[in-house]
Amino acid sequence: MRRSVFIAGLVAALVLGIGVFGTRQKTSVASAQEKMSTMEVKIDNFSFGPVTLTVPVGTTVTWTNRDDIPHTVVSTDDSKTFKSKVLDTDEKFSFTFSKAGTYPYFCSIHPKMTGKVIVQ
C-alpha cells in the first residue's frame, strides 16, 4: 500500500513537472516569436533609425516619432504599400510585412528623410 502511494505520488510529480516545463517552454517560444515579429524604427532628429531594417516575413514594424516635428512614413513604390497619417511627437504607426521584398520609404513632409525595410 505504501509503495503504491509512493509510485502514484512520483507519477503525479512527474506529470506536474512535465506540465510546468512544457508551459514554460511554450511561453519562451511565444515570447521569442513575439520578439521576432515586432521591430521598431525611431524617428528622431530628421532621420529614421535604423535607416535600413532587415526583418523576416510576417514582422510588424512600428515607427515612433520621437522628434518635435511632425513626420510621415510613406512607401515610395507606386502602389503606396503603406502610408501613415501625420505623426506628431510620440505617435506611432505600424505595418505588417507579409511579403518578402525591399520596401523603401520616406517622410512626405521632409523628402530627404528616407529609410528601407528589407523583408526576407
Binding site: 532628429n45 518635435d68 516635428i69 510621415t72 506628431d88 521632409h110 523628402p111
Partner: protein, 149 residues
C-alpha cells in the same frame, strides 16, 4: 537629383512652396520698412518704393497660398491637420490676408490721389510683420531649416 533639372524643379510637389514663400516675406518686410522710413523722412520716393514692394508682395502671396494648399492636398492627402502644421496653415492664411490688407490701404490712398496715408496702417503693418515672421518661423521649424535637421 540635379538641382537645375527643370523636371525635378517642376514636379517636386511641395518644394515650390518652400522656395516661393521667401518672396512675399522679403518684399513685405522691406515694403513696411520703406513705409516707416517714408513716414519718418517725409519722402515720396520712399513711399513709392514701399507701395511697389507691397504690391508685388501681395501678388506673391497667391502662388504661395496655392502651393501650400496643394502640398497639403497632395503630400498629406488633405488629412485633418493638427499641432504645428495647423498653426502654420492658419497663420499663413492670416499673413496673406494682412499683406493684402496693407497693400489695399496703400492702393486706395493712391487711387484717391490723397497725399497722406492713414495713420492706422502703421500698427496694422507692425502686427502683420510679427505674424509673417512667426509664420515663417513655424515654416522653417517644419521644414527643418530652423531645427536640428
Amino acid at each position: 537629383m540635379h538641382p537645375f533639372d527643370l523636371k525635378t524643379v517642376m514636379l517636386a510637389k511641395h518644394a515650390q512652396h518652400v522656395v516661393l514663400i521667401h518672396f512675399p516675406i522679403a518684399l513685405f518686410i522691406i515694403g513696411v520698412l520703406f513705409d516707416f522710413l517714408a513716414q519718418w523722412k517725409k519722402q515720396r520716393l520712399l513711399a513709392a518704393a514701399a507701395y511697389y514692394n507691397l504690391f508685388v508682395a501681395a501678388i506673391a502671396t497667391i502662388p504661395v497660398v496655392v502651393t501650400g494648399i496643394l502640398a497639403w492636398q497632395w503630400e498629406l492627402e488633405g488629412q485633418k491637420l493638427k499641432g504645428i502644421l495647423l498653426m502654420h496653415l492658419v497663420m499663413g492664411c492670416l499673413s496673406s490676408v494682412l499683406i493684402c490688407v496693407v497693400w489695399f490701404i496703400h492702393m486706395r490712398t493712391r487711387r484717391k490721389q490723397e497725399e497722406i496715408l492713414p495713420g492706422y496702417r502703421l500698427p496694422i503693418e507692425t502686427v502683420a510683420v510679427v505674424i509673417v515672421a512667426l509664420t515663417g518661423h513655424l515654416g522653417g521649424f517644419l521644414s527643418g531649416v530652423n531645427g536640428p535637421g
